[in-house]
Amino acid sequence: MKLGVVFLAVVVACQAIPARAGAPDVWAITGARIVPVSGPPIEKGTVVIRDGLIESVGPAVAAPADARTIDGTGLTVYPGLIDSFTFVEADQQAQGPGPEGGRRGGGPPQGGARAPDRDNPSGVTPEREALPLVKPDGRIESFRNAGITTVLAVPKGGIFRGQSALVDTAGASAQAMSVKTPVAQHVSFETGGGFNDYPGSLMGVIAVIRQKFLDGQHYKQEWQRYSATPKGYRRPAPSESLAAVVPALDRTVPVVIEANDDAMIRRALKIVSEFKLKAMIAGGLEAWKAADALKTAGVPVLLSLNYPERPGDMDPETTEPLRVVQARMDAPGGAAKLQKAGVRFAFQVGGLKDPKQFVGNAIKAVGSGLSKDDALRAMTLTSAELLGVSDQLGSIEAGKIANLVVTDGDLFEAKTKIKYVFVDGARFEMKVEAAPKPGEAAKVDVSGTWNLTVVTPGGNQDVTLTLTQSGTSFTGSMANAMFGTTDVKEGTVSGNKVSFSATVSVGGTSIDTTFNGTVEGDSMSGTVAVSGQGTVEFTGKRPRGAVR
């Protein structure tokens, strides 16, 4: 589908190609169970999506005439899930060391390339922004396939890591995906350095954090005075880095501090209290142990669902420290304890390798005493509230961004499958054709010319294939009005299953596509995976009379 989105982007970018007929993208999911989160579930109702927004929702809403209708019978519609914390990284080659301690600020490791510097500690890059590090790639797609429609992207590495961006999980570019930036300033107690870099200890890190906030206060005061009375005062030296700290001190941008264990959370809260920050804790494995302090401080938690796991390859004779075992046993129950203690929390993916575990581990939290309603809220509306976007996201309400997850059952049942994901009103269907098993003899011959239609939310794309089969493999070309003609590669036939790939060039960008389909006589249908952008359906025919 992203193919469609990319095509669309190209249409916008290249005036030569006529724009889409101007028809707004309208969808109606009818007769579905709707869980708006902001209100009680609607057992049978309709959600109408128009031009990226939710137009209406309710039991008595009629599907508009111009809408494409999805029969929602037996389906449940939830708000799109929000992941409230995931790291994004710069390409290693692309980033040099920043002006202020860039070594941990995303640049390549330099292992003691410069002397420790009290006035220029490593890893202090509050000015760094996450948004330019976001790429509409396969990783984003994997989040979307897991029902996650919005991600808080956080710059990886450093003590003052920089400013996070909230992005939707579909769009042609980071800018197109962006919902809000900056969302927060991110601080961690990450300790590198050792003897060769300052800071090289936890206590040094804490000193650096405190000094930076103090410097931010001083910077603000100096500029305030200078702005009010420029005459008679030397203008203060401008600093991008200090300027980025000021909004955090002003409480206009929250500060997210990463901390997992009880003592570390309490350390974070001391900094919060010293500088009167509007803060959140991210991670929070043992947040339930510090629930009293969190409640008193009014500090919510972006709770990681990346529970610690017993290593699969562990020697059964190994005796792990009891606290390690206990922490694992306690992890899924943390959310329920926070809920009970009255500490607000939103779930984050927290580096889970497979984003599908986001819901999987939320189910474990439910199994450990959290109600399904509270679990859902921690992945939708509470997340939106904590990240300051509850006017746009987090629930199914008219006027909000059309980010939805449509399932074939209760989200918190393991057997439930996601049928559709809507991101900014664009529909993604979770249907993937299995690739052919290699080695099976070809039962069909695909040689000839095929007219395929790729179904994308931005409209159908017509593609012409010209193929020549030999044994279980085939070659040929693929043509389209937009990207011209390109080679068909890796064409294989196994039974009546076919598979091939093609690289198309759209607006100067190369995009890999992989087609998997089933051939029945002169018909072919299946799915096409567009690298980094999702999977859409295609159907096609081989016109009669075409050369076999």
Binding site: G194, S201, Q221, A263, K270, E309, P311, D313, V325, R328
Partner: protein, 480 residues
């Protein structure tokens, strides 16, 4: 690292407590241990040999604890009928031991070793209340410790005086009222003589160490002057003032200049000890203690004249060149010269046998028994400025008390009970009993996990090649 059988058993319990069995209350005191409840209103330890440290030793004496404080000490002590009575017959009672040089309960590196001046680093920020060295200390009668930054830099971080309140949060371990301090270091450690990895920093010689300290105080003096000017302008009602930039490195040094922060300096050689005394005079600050101070015996008169405390090892030396010219008579010589002497551990294990170290001061140099015990109680309390609250068995002081099976200077003496603020935080009998139960609970928990949470997708754990897992490390200090 010799360990008695009792200590080994104690360690089992530590594993259990530190690991947190299912029956432990989280975030506060471990609830499974009956002894760790709120201070009983009254505890009477009766009919024991009470070694007060300030007013002699009382045979068949009693100590009354009330609301965490020492309410009475003497031969004829009256308690209320509801008081918990501990029979001290045949036992010895001393104040809690104070370890004047410790690196226990620190999370992360003991050293912020990157720079030569790291006065901005604070131990109070990184107290790890779950470090089982705290429990090991209690098992040897330690109730307070001077937790110091390491000695990798000429001016190190700010130390934290703590009470060993096992089971409490980090902030609750801090000794309320204890004057703040800072670690300095001279010699081989700050110039990084004995280390394979050489940091990219100045200094590399003893001259450079001196210069580093002088330079820091010159900067601190300028910084103080800047603030003094600002404060004067503010007082004079000047408009449009912006306070100077706060500098976390120099602030604590200004406090040293103002006499508000104690200097504890790691040192070995007599010449550089005198060097630091000269710097202190140049800048007008006072040194609270010299730590290790193995050549202190050479300049005992000078140290006594300056009123600087000495905190040394009983008989530990020759681990590096600057520690060669040492003698176990150091403590005795310094004591005879009138220096306030303490014996410290610098180590998570040695701390539990400081009573034996005190005995060495009797053996080497003939320090009287009570004076030797003062070296691990009231003397370190004086050096740390906490003798108002602890260090001796005096009415009104915190009930930091140890019950010993025999005279603590005896090799056979075993610490049986340790009270901190009147709370029984270590009870050997209970510890031995709990150790078994805790190990069973631990085994049960491991089994429970194995049965409930099979690793998914990777096959059974025993189908993979073995891998050595991490073992709960015991933090040790050493000469950091």
């Amino acid at each position: 690292m010799r360990r008695t059988r009792n200590i080994a058993a104690g360690l089992c319990l530590i594993v259990a407590l530190g690991g947190g069995t299912t029956s432990l209350a989280i975030g506060g005191q471990p609830a499974a241990v009956d002894m760790q409840t709120a201070p009983a209103n009254e505890i009477l330890i009766r009919n024991a040999t009470v070694m007060t440290m300030t007013h002699g030793t009382i045979e068949n004496g009693s100590v009354l604890i009330r609301n965490g404080k020492i309410a009475d000490v003497g031969k004829d002590v009256k308690a209320s009928p509801t008081a918990t009575v501990v029979d001290g017959t045949g036992k010895f009672v001393t104040p809690g031991i104070i370890d004047c040089h410790s690196h226990i309960a620190i999370e992360g590196n003991v050293n912020e070793g990157s720079l030569s001046v790291t006065s901005m680093a604070r131990i109070q920020d990184v107290i790890d209340p779950t470090d089982r060295s705290i429990f090991i200390g209690l098992s040897g009668g330690v109730t307070s410790a001077n937790v110091l930054h390491g000695s990798a830099n000429a001016i190190g971080g700010q130390n934290a005086t703590i009470k060993l309140r096992w089971g409490k949060h980090a902030d609750e371990l801090l000794f309320v009222g204890a004057p703040p301090g800072i670690k300095f270091a001279l010699g081989e450690n700050p110039k990084r003589s004995n280390f394979q990895v050489q940091p990219q920093r100045y200094p590399r010689t003893r001259m450079g160490v001196e210069d580093t300290i002088r330079d820091a105080f010159l900067r601190a003096r300028d910084y103080k002057a800047e603030w003094d000017r600002y404060n004067a302008d503010f007082k004079a009602g000047k408009k449009n003032l912006v306070a100077p930039r706060r500098d976390l490195e120099l602030e604590p040094l200004v406090e040293v200049l103002e006499g508000k922060r104690l200097v504890h300096s790691h040192c070995y050689r007599a010449d550089e000890i005198l060097m630091l005394i000269r710097i202190s005079k140049e800048f007008g600050f006072k040194i609270a203690t010299f730590q290790h101070v193995l050549e202190g015996y050479k300049i005992a008169k000078e140290l006594a004249a300056e009123g600087i405390g000495a905190s040394t090892f009983a008989d530990f030396w020759a681990y590096k060149v600057e520690a060669f010219d040492a003698t176990p008579y150091n403590a005795a010589v310094l004591w005879k010269a009138g220096v306030v002497v303490s014996l410290n551990s610098d180590d998570g294990e040695r701390q539990r046998r400081l009573n034996t170290d005190a005995a060495r001061a009797v053996r080497y140099g003939g320090v009287p028994e009570e004076e030797a015990l003062k070296m691990i109680t009231i003397n370190p309390a004086k050096q740390l400025g906490i003798d108002k609250w602890t260090g001796s068995l005096d009415v009104g002081k915190d009930a930091d008390i140890v019950v010993w099976s025999a005279n603590p200077l005896s090799t056979y003496a075993v610490c049986e009970k340790t009270y901190v603020d009147g709370v029984l935080l270590f009870d050997r009998q209970q510890a031995l009993k709990d150790a078994d139960a805790a190990q069973r609970a631990a085994a049960a928990l491991r089994e429970k996990e194995k049965s409930s949470d099979k690793p998914k997708g990777d096959g059974p754990p025993d189908s993979k090649p073995p891998k050595i897992g991490d073992i709960d490390d015991m933090k040790t200090g050493g000469d950091q």
